[in-house]
C-alpha cells in the first residue's frame, strides 16, 4: 500500500536491511513465515456468514449478506457476487472516512478476482429465474486493525465467511415467487482460493509483510492459488519491479504457503 503508510525511521530501515542479509526479520520470522493466523467464524448472527481473521496484529472481518436482484446482462443465468472493502478509520491513523480510495478498491478487486476466477461460488446455482431474478451475494470486508498484509487477511476472511454462510432453503413457485422453507442450506462453493502476498525488500522476497515491512517495500506480488494448486489470480503492486525469476519464485512460494494455510485455517 502506498500513501503516508509506513513512515519507517531510517534506523528501523537499516535494521530491516541488516537482518535481511542474514535472512532474518524484525519479529523473528523467517523469510517465508506467516504471522500467527487465528480465525473465528459466525460471530455476527445477523449476517448470512461471517469470519474474523487475525494475521499477527492485523484484524479483518468479513460479512456475507444475500439478497435478491437482477443478473448482469451478459451473464443472465448467473448469480451476482460483489466484493467491497471498507478501510474503517478506526483501523489506522492513515484511514479516513469517505468513499473507498484506490487502495480499498484495488484490495476489493484482488480479493474478488481470487474468488471469481477460481469459481469458488457456483454462480449458476444462484440463479432463480434466468434473465430476471438471481441471488446477489455481498462480501463486505471490514478492516479493523491494520498491521500489514491486508490482501491475504481479507481474502482468507472472505472465503471463510462464504464457507460459513447459510441461506434459507427455497422453492420457486409457478408465478416466479420464492417460497422459503424452514431449513437452511449452505452457499454452493466449489473452490477455496488462498491469496499469498510477498514483498520485495532489498532484492529479497518476504512472505506476509508487516506494516513496517510494507513501508520499505519496493514491489509486492499477490498470488491466488486454488484447491488444485492452480493459479487463479495475480496482482503486482507498488511502484517497483520484479525479474522474471523472482516472479516464478514467488509463484512457487505461494503454492507452498497456500497449501499450508488451507490445511491450517480452512480444514481445521
Amino acid at each position: 500500500m502506498t500513501d503516508s503508510y509506513g513512515i519507517v525511521t531510517k534506523v528501523r530501515q537499516k535494521r530491516i536491511s541488516e537482518l535481511l542479509i542474514q535472512d532474518k526479520r524484525l519479529d523473528g520470522r523467517g523469510l517465508e513465515d506467516y504471522r500467527e493466523i487465528k480465525v473465528e467464524t459466525g460471530l455476527i448472527e445477523k449476517a448470512a456468514g461471517s469470519a474474523l481473521v487475525s494475521l499477527g496484529k492485523t484484524k479483518v472481518m468479513a460479512g456475507i449478506k444475500i439478497e435478491m436482484g437482477s443478473p448482469f446482462l451478459d451473464t443472465p443465468e448467473d448469480g451476482v457476487l460483489t466484493v467491497n472493502v471498507e478501510l474503517v478509520p478506526l483501523a489506522s491513523p492513515t484511514f479516513e472516512p469517505g468513499p473507498p480510495n484506490e487502495d480499498a478498491i484495488e484490495l476489493a478487486r484482488v480479493v474478488d478476482r481470487g474468488i471469481r476466477e477460481s469459481k469458488a461460488v457456483d454462480l449458476k446455482k444462484l440463479c432463480i429465474i434466468p434473465e430476471k431474478k438471481v441471488f446477489v451475494v455481498f462480501v463486505d470486508i471490514y478492516v479493523l486493525d491494520h498491521d500489514g498484509n491486508l490482501f491475504d487477511s481479507s481474502a482468507l476472511a472472505s472465503i471463510l465467511a462464504l464457507m460459513n454462510a447459510k441461506m434459507r432453503d427455497y422453492v420457486v413457485k409457478e408465478n416466479g415467487e420464492l417460497e422459503f422453507k424452514p431449513n437452511y442450506i449452505k452457499l454452493p462453493l466449489q473452490n477455496y482460493p488462498i491469496e499469498v502476498t510477498m514483498a520485495k525488500i532489498d532484492d529479497k522476497l518476504v512472505v506476509d509483510p508487516s506494516l513496517e515491512e510494507e513501508g520499505v517495500t519496493d514491489a509486492q506480488i499477490t498470488v491466488a492459488i486454488g484447491k488444485n494448486d492452480e493459479i487463479c489470480a495475480i496482482q503486482k503492486s507498488e511502484p517497483g519491479t520484479f525479474s522474471v525469476d523472482e516472479v516464478l519464485g514467488a509463484v512457487n512460494i505461494s503454492k507452498k504457503k497456500a497449501k499450508e494455510i488451507r490445511e491450517k485455517a480452512l480444514e481445521g
Partner: protein
C-alpha cells in the same frame, strides 16, 4: 449488443484465431508520437481495434499544492474510457476498474521515470480510451511511455506492455476482447526491456504453473516486438520534424534567390 456474434471455437483446427491470427501473433499496431498541440508530450496508439490517446503534462506545479513531494515529482495517472468506447455505453464517471487500472498503470511506469530530478513538481498522465477491444491497459502503458519521452522527461527506458493468456486450451499472445471474455486466462505484463524487469503483472483466470511460465515468457516476447515499434515511432517524429524544417528552409532560400 447489436454487433455480437457467436463463436463456437476461439481457435480453429489450423491453429488460427477468430481474427485470423496465429497463436503467437500480435494485432496490427500503429503508434504516433506528438499528436496533441497543448500537451507537453502525447502519443496515439491503434492496437487492433483499440484506439487510445495519451497526454502528459509536466513537470508542472502540483494542485492541490500540499500533495507536492519534497524529494521527487508527484507522478499521477488517470486511465479513462470514453462513453462510446465500449459495446454498451460506459458511464463517464470513473468505475472501480478504471481506478484500479489507473493505479497499476502508474505503478508500472513510475519505476522508469527519473522523478527525483523534479522535486515539488507534478507529472500528470491522462489516458483516454476512445475505442476498446481488449488489452487497453497494455496499449495505454505502451503509448504513455512514448508520451513521457515526447514530453522530454528523462526515462531509464521505455516501458512496454503486452498480454498473453489461455484461449481454448492454447497459450496465445495479445488477446482481443472476445478472447479475453471467453478465454480461460489473461495475463497482462509490462516490462522495462533494457533491464528485463517486470513492472506490471496481473492475471485472472486459471493457469497451471507450467502454463503460467509459458504465458509470461510469451508476453515478454510480445513486449520485445512492440519495443522495436515504439522506438521507430519515436524516431519517426523527429525525422518528420527534421524533414519539414529542411523543406521550409529550402523554400526560404529559393525565395531569397528570386529576390
Amino acid at each position: 449488443m447489436l454487433t455480437e456474434r457467436k463463436y463456437d471455437k476461439l481457435v480453429n483446427e489450423q491453429g488460427l484465431r477468430i481474427d485470423g491470427r496465429r497463436l503467437d501473433e500480435l494485432r496490427f499496431i500503429k503508434i504516433d508520437v506528438g499528436v496533441l498541440e497543448k500537451a507537453n508530450g502525447s502519443a496515439y496508439i491503434e492496437w487492433g481495434k483499440n484506439k487510445i490517446l495519451v497526454a502528459v503534462y509536466g513537470p508542472r506545479e502540483v494542485h492541490p499544492r500540499h500533495l507536492a513531494l519534497p524529494n521527487k515529482a508527484l507522478f499521477r495517472c488517470r486511465y479513462h474510457m470514453a462513453p462510446f468506447s465500449t459495446e454498451e455505453r460506459k458511464s463517464p464517471a470513473p468505475s472501480r476498474r478504471e481506478i484500479e487500472l489507473s493505479k497499476v498503470i502508474r505503478e508500472s511506469l513510475e519505476p522508469a521515470v527519473f522523478t527525483e530530478l523534479y522535486p515539488r513538481t507534478g507529472i500528470d498522465v491522462f489516458i483516454e480510451v476512445l475505442q476498446s477491444d481488449g488489452g487497453t491497459r497494455c496499449a495505454g502503458i505502451t503509448a504513455t511511455s512514448l508520451a513521457l519521452a515526447d514530453a522530454g522527461i528523462p526515462l531509464k527506458d521505455l516501458v512496454v506492455a503486452c498480454a498473453a493468456g489461455k484461449v481454448d486450451g492454447q497459450i496465445v499472445l495479445d488477446l482481443n476482447d472476445i478472447e479475453d471474455q471467453k478465454g480461460e486466462a489473461d495475463l497482462p505484463v509490462a516490462i522495462i526491456p533494457k533491464k528485463n524487469e517486470v513492472t506490471l503483472l496481473q492475471m485472472d483466470g486459471i493457469l497451471t504453473q507450467e502454463e503460467f511460465e509459458r504465458a509470461l515468457k510469451l508476453a515478454i516476447e510480445g513486449c520485445k516486438q512492440i519495443y522495436i515499434m515504439q522506438k521507430e515511432a519515436l524516431k519517426r517524429k523527429y525525422i518528420t520534424a527534421k524533414e519539414s524544417i529542411e523543406s521550409e528552409s529550402e523554400e526560404t532560400t529559393e525565395e531569397e534567390k528570386q529576390k
